[in-house]
Amino acid sequence: MNKTGTAGNKGKGIKSDCFVEFELRTDGGVQIELNSKVEAYYGNSNRKLAASVLEFFEIEHAHLTIDDTGALEFVLAARIEAAIKKVINTEKSYLLPQREENKTPTAKGAFRFSRLYLPGNSPKLMINAGIHHPNGLILDLEDAVAPDKKFEARFLVRNALRSLHFYGAERMVRINQGKPGLEDLEFLIPHYPNLILIPKCESAEDILKVNKVIDKLKKQHHIETDVWLMPIVESAKGVMEAYNIARSADNLVAMAIGLEDYTADLGTRRTAEGTESFFARSMVVNACRAAGIQPIDSVFSDVADMEALAANVKVSKSLGFDGMGCIHPRQINVIHQNFAPEEAEIEKAKKIYLAFKDAQAKGLGVVSLGSKMIDPPVVKRAVTTIELAINTGKLSPDWQPATSN
């Protein structure tokens, strides 16, 4: 085992992060050397936190160096823990209190128009991500994290699940492919993620493996909240298996397609027109609709071109998708605006909602519109359509006729 472990980032352009070097020693007690950009305001509290992490792991002799560029406490704690665990073996985890609102469950059919990818080892990008109000925030442990940073990213993502402000966005994590992904789950499931994205999914078997670990961990940690799954199909084989994957589990709520890898697998390139992926996208939409889950489109990677993004979203919606990924906060609004319900949808939802209110007022158990009976899920959907229309500015908050109030 090494005597020295490091974690975190430093250097040009790194902010709101820290770089930690932990050296286990055999004598001399504990020394903490803090070099902090925010020394004047948080020097003392940072030293106190560092000391309490060392004490928690029963470190008696060590030298800890911290280069801090304004890391929040959950970041600092994650970095120190990761550095220590590169040196010592322990079952213990240093956990800061979990924000109560970070335990809130989400509905199976929640809107998932936009999901913003956040590199799992870059705290700077996480802190303000929620203020842009995507439907979901994905803490990414997979492609956005360099191989030598995978270990420490797990601690950061775990702590983010507990401490980060999501501002109402669904808490999502993309795990790694295969066995490392199953190990990732141990860092996630006890901390109430709403949804796990499973990359490069090629069979129902992949889903079952993940669910087996999730079930075990939920039982072990007495978690009863649902953990939803969103597999990502990114290969020719995955596309062919789309339907089997889509219907493989009850907690599978959506399936996405990843076009970068898929087109590479086909031996072709992604184009603006997207002809090469038409088949795959349609397959995914079809499989999802057949299985009753949400089909979700790939990310659009030119973050500077909002007009092309808008065009892309329109195509996506017309193919039948319910949402798409984004890699820059400025994409969120464009995606919402273009996935938002159209006038006709809104009008229909308004009628259903008013019929429901009317039935309620009259004490009727059954809602009907004209001669047609309306099922409760349809009412629910109408309510969400209205909420969404209001949220995207397509409907005034006080749209209801005065008489119905």
Binding site: E39, A40, Y42, L72, E73, R330
Partner: protein, 522 residues
């Protein structure tokens, strides 16, 4: 001589000296409360008998000009900052002073930049006693650590003109770097290889200094048109190889921000202005050169376009963005105090509606009105704001001098002052119990727009009323502060020395706050 003496508590509760570098100064008394009496300062009377009839005032070199101007110990030398970080002349002036063994000078720039780090050895060896002007970067660090021999004095652009005009600062020699000049001393900033736009910051210097030296790399035969600086004020003209690096007037902050968080703040600011009815056909605004401010200008442009409105005028700091709006016809006039890029320079040269101004017309508080107070909206930055909306723009929360005041204090007199600022910057909360340095009393700040909510000064009941059903997230400043602290943790208060290293002047020349020395690192 003591750097400062006779401390009193001023009208905003700050401890300030009334004796500064041996001279008496008045403590801040409240906005609009101090009314000066007497007459303005007048420069010595000159006679044409002492100047060549052919109008040729060219001398051999800058050293010659400075010697002829009588450069000696204890004098005040002024320069302007239209070249921003591309200034070459201030360093040259003090190289000469050092070579001549002159000591104890007061440097009175309209602003200093990192390129002036070159002067630190002269501050150390006593060639320069002190800087009265903005200090940031290496000079800010030097001053903040208490190493400057005299006490620093920071003034706004308008306050600098006021100090010159009122005789509070007597300039012995003004050295004016000019992209174009004629032998008589008429000078401008719009023509020549080093064109930097205008020379407004040097206007007061030319009018009131005992001796005025114009330095240029582009001598044209009389007349140099336009004469932004009037040759009738000028004693000597010097030709150098290169007067300044024009490309460096572009600072890093004059590009529209790409940061999604700052764009969000900009968008919210524009939405707020729209909801509050501050934007209308014929309105006016000033937005600085920061990335956020520039994108606010863009959003204002969208609102004007959508409604088929035009803005009557923009006060600027111009660069390509306001120029585009002018050329599109969205704006009637740009009243420009300094150009921030070469597009701004071009437009000023070519477009009669892009007008050069000066701190006298725009900002001087001891005049018969000024332009700044006529603005509908001004958008400004700040390093800190306290719960009473008092704001700081010069020091970082750790006490280091970070920015000059610029036109910041002067534009606070606009009808509505908005500070779009992130709620915290790399963990450092912007809203504090008390600002480190008080540059503006809270009554002057109307709105703070952050990414997590907008706080309106309770004094502005009209704005509160107009935006209450706007759908914008309006919070109290206390709520915003608590929100930041919930995320970042409650910051400790930076410990500073009792020793004062500089003072901050209000627009009327009174002393509004003191800047304390930063303690050495633990």
């Amino acid at each position: 001589m003591k750097k400062y003496d006779k401390l009193v508590i001023n009208a905003v509760g700050r401890e300030v000296p009334t004796i500064i570098n041996g001279e008496e100064h008045i403590p801040f008394k409240g906005v609009g409360k101090y009314k000066p009496t007497g007459r303005k300062y007048g420069p010595p009377i000159a006679t044409c008998a002492d100047y060549p009839d052919d109008g040729n005032k060219i001398v051999e070199n800058l050293k010659d000009a400075l010697v002829k101007s009588g450069l000696k110990d204890g004098m005040t030398i002024s320069t302007h900052h239209h070249f921003r970080n591309g200034d070459l002349i201030a360093n040259m002036v003090f190289d000469i002073a050092h070579e001549l063994g002159v000591k104890n000078l007061r440097w009175f720039p309209s602003a200093s930049f990192p390129c002036h780090e070159h002067l630190i050895p002269y501050l150390e060896d006593g060639t320069i006693n002190r800087i009265e002007g903005s200090m940031n970067g290496p000079l800010g660090k030097f001053a903040s650590e208490g190493k400057m021999k005299g006490l620093g004095v920071l003034r706004s652009h308008g306050g600098r003109y006021q100090a010159i005009q009122d005789g509070e600062v007597h300039i012995d020699i003004a050295v004016i770097a000019a992209p174009t000049a004629d032998p008589f001393g008429n000078a401008n900033g719009v023509n020549g290889d080093a064109a930097c736009g205008l020379l407004g910051f040097a206007l007061g210097d030319s009018q009131y200094a005992d001796k005025v030296v114009v330095v240029t790399d582009n001598v044209v035969p009389f007349p140099a048109i336009p004469w932004q600086i009037n040759g009738n004020h000028v004693d000597y003209v010097v030709k150098v190889d290169k007067v300044g690096i024009a490309e460096k007037i572009i600072s890093g902050t004059t590009k529209i921000t790409k940061s999604p968080d700052r764009l969000l703040i900009a968008e919210l600011t524009a939405q707020f202005c729209e909801a509050a009815g501050l934007i209308y056909d014929g309105f006016s605004y000033q937005a600085g050169a920061g990335g956020t401010a520039l994108s606010i200008g863009n959003y204002f442009g969208d609102i004007l376009r959508k409604n088929g409105w035009t803005a009557r005028f923009i006060r600027a700091g111009s660069n390509q963005y306001p120029v585009e709006m002018l050329e599109e016809g969205l704006v009637g006039y740009i009243l420009d105090g300094q150009t921030f890029d070469l597009e701004g320079v071009r437009s000023m040269r070519e477009n009669p509606n892009h007008v050069w101004t000066s701190p006298f017309t725009s900002y001087n508080y001891h005049g018969k009105g000024n332009f700044a107070s006529m603005l509908d909206i001004v958008v400004l930055g700040a390093t800190e704001v306290d719960l009473n909306f008092n704001a700081n723009v010069v020091t970082h929360s750790d006490g280091y001098l970070l920015h000059g005041i610029g036109g910041w204090q002067n534009t606070l007199f606009a009808k509505t002052t908005i500070l779009p600022i992130p709620l915290f910057r790399d963990r450092i909360p912007v809203i504090r119990d008390e600002v480190t340095t008080l540059c503006a009393p809270g009554e002057m700040i109307d709105v703070i727009v952050t990414e997590r909510g907008i706080a309106i000064n309770p004094l502005r009941e009209d704005l509160i009323e107009k935006t209450k059903n706007s759908g914008l997230t309006i919070k109290t400043i206390q709520e915003l502060k608590e929100e930041a602290e919930e995320i970042c943790g409650i910051p400790e208060k930076a410990e500073l020395s009792d020793e004062i290293i500089a003072v901050i002047k209000w627009v009327d020349g009174t002393v509004i706050d003191s800047v304390r020395k930063v303690l050495p690192k633990k």
